[in-house]
C-alpha cells in the first residue's frame, strides 16, 4: 500500500497526473470508499486492503472528462472492465494512468457477518501485504477468526487470473485465489428441472428491491440513460409492482451486457439483498463460450463481440431445447 502511495505522490508531484483515483479509509475496519486524491496531504487517508473490492474502472468515464490525467488503481479483474469501456469509447486511454495493483482476493463483509460475526471493532489480516491466511476479528462479543478464503467475494473464488490486461505500471504482487470452477453454479442450475429452476430464480429475484445498485455499479451498464429509465420502449420501471418486472429487468440487463460483461462480479457484490446476479451474466458467457467459441470480454480492445458477430454455421435457437 505504501508503495502505491509513494508512487501516487511522485506522479502528482511531477505533474504526470492531476489526481489519484483509489480508496479512502473508512470509519469502520471494513468500509473504505472510492475516492479522488489531489494532494500529497489528502493521500494520508489512502488505503488499499482486502475490503477495496469496488471496481474503479467505471469512475473513469467521468474522470475522462476532467482536465489532466487520473492515476487509477485497478486490480487485475478491473482492467478487463477498463478495456471493455475503452473498446466502447466510454473512457479515454490518454486520460488514464493505470496502476495495476496486486490483489490477493477481496473480502465480503456480508459474508463475514453471515457467519455470525457482529459488533466488529477491528480486523487483522485484511492488509494486502499480510501473508496471513486467517482473519482475526475483534468484536464486542469476543474475538473471532475466519479463514481468508471463507471471507472472500464469490468472484475471487473463480478469479480470472493475476494478469492486468492494461496498465502503465504494476505495483504489488497478486495471489492465485481461484478454488472453484467458474461455470459450476450455472451448470448446477442448468441441470435442474424447469420447476426447480423457476422456483430458484423466483425465490432469488423476489428479493429484488429495484435499487438499481447492480446496474449502477456495473461497468458494462454505462448507458447515459438506461432503457428502464426512459420511455423509449414504454418500459420505464421504478418498482417491481409485479414479479414479472424483476425478471424483465434482470434478463434484459443481462442481455444488454451479454458479450460485454467481463464477469467482474460487481453486481453480486453490491446487491443489498444478496441476489447472485452473476448467475445471469455467467449463463450468457457460458452459452457464448459453448456456442460461438470462448470469448472473454475486456481481454482486448479490438475483437468482435459475440453479439455483433456471426458465422453461417451458428447454432439454431432450437439448440436450447435439444441441449436438454
Amino acid at each position: 500500500m505504501q508503495a502505491i502511495i509513494n508512487r501516487a505522490k511522485e506522479l502528482l508531484a511531477d505533474g504526470t497526473v492531476a489526481r489519484v483515483l483509489g480508496w479512502k479509509a473508512g470509519d469502520l475496519p471494513y468500509n473504505p470508499e472510492p475516492a479522488y486524491f489531489e494532494t500529497e496531504e489528502e493521500l494520508k487517508d489512502f488505503v488499499y486492503n482486502g475490503f477495496c473490492g469496488a471496481n474503479l474502472s467505471k469512475y473513469m468515464i467521468e474522470a475522462s472528462k476532467l482536465e489532466g490525467k487520473t492515476m487509477v488503481c485497478l486490480k487485475p479483474c478491473d482492467t478487463y472492465s477498463f478495456n471493455q469501456l475503452l473498446k466502447e469509447h466510454r473512457v479515454d486511454r490518454d486520460k488514464a494512468y493505470i496502476v495495476g495493483v496486486g490483489c490477493k482476493g477481496k473480502l465480503d463483509i456480508e459474508r463475514i457477518k453471515k457467519q455470525g460475526i457482529k459488533g466488529i471493532e477491528s480486523i487483522e489480516g485484511a492488509e494486502i501485504s499480510d501473508e496471513a491466511e486467517t482473519l482475526k476479528i475483534q468484536t464486542i462479543y469476543g474475538e473471532k477468526t475466519l479463514p481468508y478464503a471463507d471471507a472472500m467475494l464469490e468472484r475471487c473464488h473463480v478469479c480470472k487470473g493475476k494478469e492486468h490486461m492494461v496498465f502503465d505500471e504494476q505495483i504489488g504482487e497478486s495471489k492465485e485465489t481461484k478454488d472453484a470452477e467458474r461455470f459450476d453454479e450455472v451448470a448446477k442450475i442448468e441441470a435442474m428441472s424447469p420447476e426447480e429452476k423457476f422456483a430458484f430464480f423466483q425465490s432469488e429475484l423476489s428479493k429484488c428491491i429495484r435499487c438499481n445498485a447492480c446496474r449502477n455499479a456495473c461497468p458494462a451498464c454505462s448507458c447515459r440513460k438506461c432503457v428502464f429509465d426512459s420511455n423509449k420502449f414504454d418500459s420505464s420501471q421504478k418498482a417491481n409492482a409485479d414479479s414479472f418486472e424483476e425478471k424483465m429487468f434482470h434478463i434484459i440487463r443481462a442481455f444488454h451486457v451479454a458479450g460485454r460483461c467481463t464477469d467482474c462480479g460487481e453486481c453480486s457484490r453490491v446487491c443489498p439483498q444478496g441476489i447472485p446476479l452473476h448467475l445471469f451474466n455467467r449463463k450468457f458467457i457460458k452459452d457464448i463460450d459453448e456456442l460461438y467459441g470462448e470469448y472473454q470480454a475486456g481481454e482486448d480492445t479490438d475483437s468482435k463481440a459475440p453479439l455483433t458477430n456471426y458465422t453461417f454455421e451458428d447454432a439454431e435457437p432450437s439448440i436450447v431445447g435439444k441441449r436438454g
Binding site: 469509447h89 448507458c223 447515459r224 432503457v227 423509449k232 420502449f233
Partner: protein, 662 residues
C-alpha cells in the same frame, strides 16, 4: 392525439365471406383515436380510394388504417391515395385481414375476432406514426447483367439499345450459354447456332455493351440506383488486346486430355482453348490445371508459337470495381447431377446419355461430328429409348418437385430429328405425361407421333441394365396397357431435370435477392411483378427465375430490360424513409450499432449536446439516411434504445404487441 380513419375492405367475398366486415368497422370506432370507420366492397378500386380521400378531407384524418389484403399487395396503392388527399403517405397502416385471416380461417366468428385484433394492432401502431419524408438518391446510369447466355445477351442488347451502358459478366471464357450447345430448336427446328451467333456478335460489337468473360461477380454492396460491384476477371493468361484468335496455340498445345466442358465431357480439348469455334471473344484461355507449363514449369509451347506474343503466364486475377444502377441476374441452368439415379445406369454405361449430351452428339461440331453413334463403340444405334422426367416432378429428395418444362418438347424434337435422318432407328419414349402447352407445340408433338412414328409409352422406367453384349435392357411399364415392358436398346437418353446454376445461391446472397427452396430466384410478385426480385434494383432474366424455353427466355429478358431501363431513365430515386435514427441524448457512442450495420451507414461525430442543462461534447452515432436500408439491426444492438427505426419504432411495435395480447 391522432384522428384515425379505419377502412375495411370486403374484397368482394374474399374477405367478407369469412369476416364480418361491418363488425370490424363498428368495433374500430371504439378504439382510441378512431373517428371514422367504414367498410366497402373494394377499397382498392377508384370508388374505394375516393371514399378514403373524402374521409381524410371531411374528417380531417391524421392517420388511416386499411383492413384489406397484404400490405405487400396494396400498401403502395393506399399510400398514394392518402397522399393525393393531402395525408402523409406514411400515416397509412394496413391490417392484413385477407392473406393472414379470411383466406386461412373458416369459422366466421373466429376470423372476425382475429380481424378485429389485427385492426386494433394497426390502429395502435398508427397512433404512434409520424409523417415521414422520402429522401432522394442518385441513379448510376449503367446496368450489370450477370450471365452471358441468351437471356443475358438479349437483356443487355435491349438495355444498350435504349442508350444505357451495360456490362455483361460471364463466368466461362465465352458468352453464348446453354443455347450455344444446342443443335436445333423446337418447334421450328432451326439451327440454334444460326440464330444465336448473330446476337453474340451484335452484343460484342455494341458500343454500349462491355463484356467481361471468364469473370465472376465477387462482391456487391449498395442499393437500388447505386450498387457497387467487384468483378473478378480471372487470369486468362492470354492478352486480350494482342491475341488475334488465329488458333495456332490450341493446335500446338501438347496437353489435349482435358475434358471439353462445351461438349459435356464427351471429348477432350487442349489446355489452352476456346470453348467452341464461334466463341466470343475469340481469345483462348489457359486451363492452369491442365497446362503442362503450370504443372511442371516446362513447356511454354503456346508462348513460342504465338506470333502476337499474347501469352502471359504471369497474368493475375484482376478486380474491377464498377458502379451500377440496376443488376439483372441471368445465370441460367444446368442439368442435375444423376448420382442418385443409379437405376438408369448413367454412370455405368457410356450409351446412357442426357438429352443435353445428345444435343452435342447430334451437332456437327460435337464429339461425333453430328453422326448418331454409340459413344461406347461408335456403332450406329438401332433402338433408342428416351426416358422422361428424370429428376423432374419427383416427390422424394433425389430430384426436383417441379416440371422442367422443356423436356417434352426437346424429346419430341430429338425423336423427330433421329427418325428423319435415320429412318431405320426405332425410337421409344417413356413418359408420365406429355406437356405441350405453347404455340405450335402440340402440333409438333403430334407430328413426332403421327408422321415420324415415334413410339410413346405412358409409363415409367424402373431400371436400365447394361447387358454383356453392350445392349441396354430397359425395364418399364405401360400404364395404358397395364403391363410390364422389357425392351433392349442401343442407346438410352435421359430427359434430365434442369436446375438453376449452382452459383446462383452465392450470387443471390450477394444481391440479397430471395431464393426459393429449389434455388430459383423469387419474383417480387408471382403474377404482377414476375421479372423483378423483391430487392429493388435487381431483375430476373431467364431460367434463374424458373424453367423456360428459348422464346420465353427471350421475352422475359426483354421484360427485365424494360424494367431496368425504367429505373435507369430516372435521375433520382425516392428513398425509403423508414431508416434508423439516433437520439443524441441517449447515445453512448459505443460503436455497437456500427458493428452490425451491413451498409456502413453509421458513423460517429463529436457533437455539442445540451442534456437537460448539462452541456458537453459527446461522441454520438449519426446515420446516413441515403445508405441506411432500414433493417433495424442497430436498433436491437443499441442497449440504451438511442437507435430507433422510423416506421417500425420500438414504441410502435410494442403497441402492436400490446394490442394483440390485450
Amino acid at each position: 392525439m391522432q384522428r384515425i380513419g379505419v377502412f375495411v375492405c370486403h374484397c368482394g367475398s374474399n374477405i367478407a365471406a369469412t369476416v364480418d366486415v361491418s363488425k370490424v368497422a363498428e368495433t374500430a370506432l371504439m378504439e382510441p383515436g378512431v373517428v371514422h370507420a367504414e367498410d366497402y366492397q373494394y377499397m382498392c378500386s377508384e370508388a374505394g380510394q375516393a371514399k378514403i380521400a373524402a374521409a381524410i378531407q371531411e374528417k380531417g384524418l391524421t392517420g388511416i388504417v386499411v383492413c384489406s389484403c397484404s400490405p405487400r399487395m396494396h400498401e403502395a396503392t393506399f399510400r398514394k391515395a392518402a397522399e393525393r388527399a393531402g395525408l402523409n403517405p406514411y400515416m397509412v397502416e394496413i391490417a392484413n385481414i385477407r392473406e393472414h385471416c379470411s383466406w386461412i380461417h373458416k369459422d366466421m366468428e373466429e376470423a372476425t375476432k382475429k380481424a378485429v385484433i389485427l385492426m386494433r394492432a394497426a390502429v395502435a401502431k398508427v397512433n404512434l406514426n409520424t409523417p415521414l419524408q422520402a429522401g432522394e438518391s442518385r441513379v448510376t446510369k449503367r446496368a450489370l447483367v450477370i450471365g452471358g447466355g441468351i437471356a443475358g445477351i438479349q437483356t443487355a442488347l435491349d438495355i444498350a439499345d435504349a442508350g444505357y451502358e451495360v456490362d455483361i459478366v460471364e463466368k466461362t471464357p465465352s458468352i453464348g450459354g446453354r443455347m450455344s450447345q444446342l443443335d436445333k430448336t423446337f418447334p421450328t427446328l432451326d439451327c440454334s447456332a444460326c440464330i444465336l451467333t448473330p446476337k453474340m456478335v451484335e452484343a460484342s460489337a455494341h458500343e454500349k455493351i462491355n463484356i467481361y468473360t471468364y469473370s465472376e461477380v465477387e462482391k456487391v454492396s449498395g442499393f437500388v440506383g447505386d450498387f457497387t460491384v467487384d468483378i473478378r476477371k480471372k487470369a486468362r493468361c492470354v492478352d486480350m488486346d494482342k491475341c488475334t484468335g488465329c488458333g495456332v496455340c490450341q493446335e500446338k498445345c501438347p496437353s489435349k486430355k482435358a475434358l471439353s466442358e462445351f461438349n459435356r465431357g464427351l471429348n477432350t480439348r487442349s489446355a489452352i482453348y476456346t470453348p467452341f469455334a464461334q466463341a466470343i471473344p475469340n481469345v483462348p484461355v489457359i486451363d492452369r490445371e491442365a497446362c503442362i507449363k503450370f504443372k511442371t514449369g516446362k513447356c511454354g509451347i503456346c508462348s513460342k508459337v504465338c506470333q502476337a506474343g499474347a501469352i502471359d503466364y504471369e497474368q493475375k486475377d484482376e478486380i474491377i470495381t464498377e458502379k451500377y444502377g440496376a443488376i439483372v441476374v441471368a445465370t441460367g441452368f444446368d442439368t442435375i447431377n444423376l448420382d442418385k439415379y443409379d437405376e438408369y445406369a448413367y454412370s455405368q454405361s457410356k450409351d446412357v446419355i442426357t438429352s443435353l449430351e445428345l444435343e452435342r452428339v447430334m451437332n456437327a461440331a460435337g464429339p461425333t461430328h453430328g453422326h448418331l453413334e454409340r459413344l461406347s463403340d461408335g456403332k450406329a444405334p438401332k433402338e433408342i429409348i428416351f426416358i422422361q422426367c428424370v429428376g423432374s416432378r419427383c416427390s422424394d429428395d433425389r430430384g426436383k418437385p417441379y416440371c422442367s418444362k422443356i423436356c417434352c418438347m426437346y424429346t419430341a424434337k430429338h425423336a423427330m430429328l433421329i427418325r428423319d435422318k435415320y429412318p431405320d432407328v426405332n425410337v421409344t419414349v417413356f413418359y408420365i405425361d406429355v406437356r405441350t402447352p405453347g404455340k405450335n407445340f402440340d402440333e409438333f408433338y403430334r407430328r413426332a407421333v403421327e408422321q415420324y412414328g415415334v413410339n410413346y409409352i405412358k409409363g415409367q422406367v424402373g431400371k436400365v441394365i447394361p447387358q454383356p453384349d453392350g445392349k441396354l435392357l430397359v425395364q418399364g411399364s405401360d400404364l395404358l396397357d397395364n403391363r410390364q415392358i422389357l425392351k433392349e436398346a442401343d442407346m438410352v437418353v435421359l430427359a434430365t431435370a434442369i436446375e438453376p446454376n449452382p452459383d446462383v445461391r452465392k450470387i443471390a446472397t450477394m444481391l440479397t435477392a430471395s431464393i426459393d427452396t429449389n434455388n430459383f430466384l423469387t419474383e417480387a410478385h408471382a403474377k404482377l411483378r414476375p421479372v423483378e426480385s423483391p430487392t429493388a434494383g435487381i431483375f430476373l432474366s431467364g431460367v434463374c427465375q424458373g424453367p423456360k424455353d428459348i422464346p420465353e427466355t427471350v421475352a422475359q429478358a426483354g421484360a427485365a430490360a424494360v424494367k431496368a431501363i425504367g429505373l435507369l431513365a430516372k435521375d433520382k430515386l425516392l428513398t425509403n424513409p423508414c431508416t434508423a435514427q439516433s437520439d443524441v441524448l441517449l447515445c453512448n457512442g459505443c460503436s455497437t450499432c456500427e458493428n452490425v450495420c451491413p451498409y456502413g451507414a453509421i458513423s460517429y461525430e463529436d457533437k455539442e449536446v445540451n442534456d437537460h442543462g448539462i452541456r458537453e461534447t459527446r461522441r454520438v452515432a449519426v446515420v446516413n439516411n441515403a445508405l441506411c436500408q432500414g433493417c433495424g439491426a442497430c436498433t436491437v444492438a443499441c442497449p440504451s434504445g438511442a437507435m430507433d427505426l422510423q416506421g417500425f419504432s420500438n414504441r410502435q411495435i410494442i403497441a402492436e404487441v400490446d394490442a394483440i395480447c390485450r
